[in-house]
Structures are given as C-alpha cells and as structure tokens.
Amino acid sequence: MTELDHPSVDRPTPVPFEGTQRFWEEASAGRLTLQRCEAGHVQFYPRRHCRFCGETELSELTASGEGTVHTFSVVYRAAHDGFVARVPYVFAIVDLPEGPRVTANIVDIDPESVHVGMRVEATFDDVVGELTLPQFKPASTGSGSNNSHLA
C-alpha cells in the first residue's frame, strides 16, 4: 500500500494537447520521454522548438528513468482539495542524468526520509483520470534502474 491508494479523481489533471500527447501516451506505457534537438540540447517539457537554440528539428529521447532529488519540500498543508488526504506529501524537483529536471512527488518512502541527492527512479503507477502521472521512488539497490524503458 502506498499513499497513492486514494481516490485520485479530484487532483488537478493534465489536459494534453497535440504537442504533449506523445509524452502522456509514453507515460501510460511506463516511459519518460524528453526531446533532443539537432544541436544536441535535451529539453523538458516538450515544445515545438528547442528552448536553448530555437532549432525546430527535434527527436524523441526515452529517459533511463533514473534520477536524483535536486531538492524538495514536504507539504503539511495542502492548497488544493485534491491533496488534503495526501498530506504530508513530497513535492520535488528531480535531476535526470539526461540533463533536464522534472517536477514529481517522491513516493514509497516516509516523507521525512527524503533527502537532497537521494537516488530515485521513475515509477508509473499513479493514474489520474485516464493519464499516468510519472512519479519517482527510491532507487532499488544495485543498478537502480527499472526495465520499463527497454525498447
């Protein structure tokens, strides 16, 4: 059991548009996707151009799913009704080895045990409406990777 076993229908739900549809489709399949431009920049969140150089030829990059907690805050007072039942929860910024950062909750761990620099891995169990919300949990010992990204 995790703190994710609560009704999730009341949480703010992403509304995909054409440019983000691919990300959410891949997330439902257990994969975290980023974009790479012709000049080699890797970005998140998806856009129609590279935010670093303006290049419009972008290709998809499937992330390893590994990450490191860059920083976080444990929320004890929720602002949104959909989160009241989840308090305390961890609101975090995770560094990906591919370059970008993502926002996530750190799950499957006592919130007070989360620390900066902690190794985490992506998990795809959090279903909100019809979408899967990528989250991060403590990296398993050893390689710390899951195999959901294998082609």
Binding site: R11, P12, T13, P14, V15, P16, F17, T20, F44, Y45, H70, T71, F72, S73, V74, V75, Y76, R77, A78, A79, H80, G82, F83, R86, Y89, F91, A92, I93, P100, R101, V102, T103, A104, N105, V116, G117, V128, L133
Partner: protein, 395 residues
C-alpha cells in the same frame, strides 16, 4: 538634461515620488478591493497635493484572485476611479509588479509620455474565499503547467524547496530563517497598523506548526485585506509638492521562469540581474544603502535577496542575519514597518516596499525609523523565484 537614446542613466534623479499611501486596513470583510484601491489612490494624491483630475497615467495589477478584476483590470480600475489615462500599464510579474510598474512609469515621465502617474494595488486576500491559483488552474493544466500543477505545488512548497536546497548547499539553518521573522516582528511593534505586533522568539517560530518544509507558520507572511498607492512625477514638478519628494535613482527588472522544473538555480534569482541593473543606473553599490525593504513572502526570500543584491556573499546570508545584520542597528536594516511577515501582505507586497522606502527617507516610518536614512532600496520577487524588480530611492 535631454535623455539620450539607449542611456538608462538619463532618468536617474529626474523622477520623484511625491505622494504615498498605505491603507490602515488589515481585515475588512465585505469591502471590495476596488474600494480599497480608491482609498489608496485618493490618499496618495492628497499626500501629493493633487486630485484625480491631475492624473494622466495609471498602473495596477488586479487580475488575480482577491484582486477584484479580470484581464482588463487597469481599464476597469481606471473607470472605477474616474480617470481616463493616456499612459497605461498593467504589467503582471507577480508580487514584483508594482515595482516594475513604477520603473516603467519613471521612464515614461522622463520621456514625456506622462506627467502624473499613479501606481496602486489592493486585494482582499484575508476575507476572500477564493483560493489563490483557483481561477487560473484550468488554463495551467492545458499548458506547460500540466507537468507541474498535478504534483501539488503550493506557494510555500515552491519557496520551501529553494530554502531546502540553500540549506543543503550552504548550511543555512532554521534558526537563520526564524531570525528574519523575529526581526520583522520587532520592527512591527510600534507600527499601529501592523497585523501582528507582539514580540516573538526564535523558539516561537520553530515550535509552530510546519506548513511546508522548512517553513513553520511564523516563517510565512501574513494574509490581509489592504492596499497602497504612490504618485510619480518629474523631479521638477515634485519640488512644489507639499511634502519632501523622494527621487528615483535606479531601477531593474528581470524574468527567469514560471515553472520550477525550468529553473536553472534554486539558490539565486532574477534579483541578481534586477539588482545589478538598478545599482548601475543609480551609480551606487550595496554599501550605499541605508535601509532596504526586501519582499518577505516567507523568511527565506530576504536571505536570497541579501545575496542576490550583493549585501553579502552567496551562501552567507544565514550568518549575516545571525550576526544582527538586518536588525535596526545592523549593517542593513530591513523591513522596518514589519514587512509581509508581520505588517501587511494582501498579495503583491511590491507596492509596500516602495511606500515604506519613501516613509523612511521622509522620516515617517511607522515601525522602526532608521535615523538619517538617505538612500533606500525596495526589492520584490514575483511568482516563486520567477521574476524580480528592484528600485533605489534617494532623499
């Protein structure tokens, strides 16, 4: 002196604030924010010896929850007040917006686009039942916010994770944060309108309920119903004003990001840029500042501001505060009216950082008056580490 194209320094000293007004309100259920704006605009004009008919420029930001207007806020407020301005600004960069609008107005006055500009702000955040962010959430979820909003971002959490990173990198302690709250409360003691005036200790702060790590309740600003306004004009015209005008010496603004997952740093902010530009324009350095109002949405933002503006080295703001640097007798007294942490915070504290700066330079500070203050600095953040605006003022 005729402004030279591209020469920012040209309007330094050419524009003044001739009138200010902060509402005495803090809890005002049933009062609409427009009514508070009108009280403040009329009060600031009276302070400047003027009337509504003298106003040809107007700026406000009032399209968020508890601010009373929609997207055409500046039009609706102008109508409510009874003016039809020919210089208009509703720049919205969050809590820094009023400082930004003041900087823009100064450039406009120097360029001859306006003679008398009023910049005002009000909100009824204490009494309003609408949650901050509620009106914009649907739009956020349809855009880039879909990658952050679903994870339960709150304002304290956004600043909290920045504070957490700062503590990790530099050893900043909860006691350092708490000291900021204690200092602001000390300054609020004599301010008759401050929301909270009774003294608190570091233990009071650290023993309080946790809101979002590392912030306890007293690490977070008050929430009020209130407002404020300032009146700007040329220095030449201000010389005839009934009260001592305050000269605008330097201004800077900068925008970095909206969503935290796009931030390059959580231990520095656009204040690095806005501060540098303001000091450059004014031809001054941090050592020249006698008193500073550093927007305190929580106890951490002033620490960031101290570092970004160059009052201490990166990472050393905790020690600076622990050594008494920001107290009334310290190197750089801050938030002399009690700040957002103890006096007033209806939403965009930027306006109050400027009002208090003017009051300090006039010798009219309602909380702690810094004797002989001649150069003041007002600095505000917008959003969560998203934007900053800095204003330097001189007696």
């Amino acid at each position: 002196m005729t402004p030279t194209r591209g020469d920012r320094k040209s309007w330094s000293g050419q524009v003044a604030i001739a009138g200010v007004y902060e509402s005495a309100l803090r809890k005002a259920p049933g009062v609409h924010p427009f009514e508070i704006q009108a009280e403040c605009v009329l009060g600031a004009l009276k302070d400047a010896g003027l009337q509504l008919k003298d106003v040809d420029g107007f700026a406000t930001a009032a399209s968020l929850e508890a601010e009373g207007a929609g997207p055409f806020a500046v039009i609706e407020l102008a109508e409510y007040l009874g003016i039809q301005p020919t210089y208009i600004d509703s720049t919205d960069i969050g809590g820094a917006a009023p400082i930004s609008q003041i900087g823009h107005a100064a450039a406009a006055i120097a360029a001859g686009l306006a003679d008398v500009v009023v910049v005002s702000y009000a909100a009824n955040s204490y009494s309003s039942s609408v949650r901050w962010g509620e009106r914009t959430e649907a739009v956020e979820l349809e855009g880039p916010g879909q990658f952050e909003t679903p994870y339960g971002r709150t304002i304290p959490a956004a600043f909290g994770l920045a504070a957490t990173r700062h503590m990790h990198e530099y050893g900043t302690k909860p006691e350092h944060l708490a000291q900021v709250a204690v200092t602001c409360r000390t300054n609020a003691a004599n301010n008759p309108n401050a929301r909270f005036r009774h003294a608190i200790t570091i233990s009071d702060v650290l023993d309080g309920p946790m809101i979002s790590t590392p912030f306890h309740r007293l690490d977070c600003c008050v929430v009020t119903d209130s407002g404020g306004a300032v009146v700007l004009m040329s220095a030449e015209r201000a010389a005839n004003a009934p009260k001592k005008p305050v000269s605008l010496l330097g201004f800077g603004e900068a925008v970095h990001q909206q969503w935290l997952n796009q931030a390059e740093s959580f231990v520095s902010t656009p204040g690095l840029v806005s501060g540098r530009r303001a000091f450059e324009q004014a031809g001054l350095t941090p050592g020249d500042i006698d008193v500073a109002q550093l927007y305190d949405a929580n106890t951490f933002t002033p620490l960031l501001a101290l570092e970004d503006l160059g009052f201490c080295k990166r990472g050393e703001s905790g020690d600076f505060v622990a050594d008494g640097g920001i107290s009334p007798g310290g190197t750089l007294p801050i938030n002399t009216d009690g700040g957002g942490l103890s006096s007033n915070h209806p939403g965009r504290r930027g306006i109050f950082t400027v009002i208090e700066s003017v009051r300090q330079l006039r010798g009219e500070g309602p909380g702690t008056q810094i004797q002989g203050a001649e150069v003041a600095l007002a600095h505000a953040f917008g959003g969560e580490l998203s934007s900053c605006a800095t204003l330097i003022l001189g007696a």
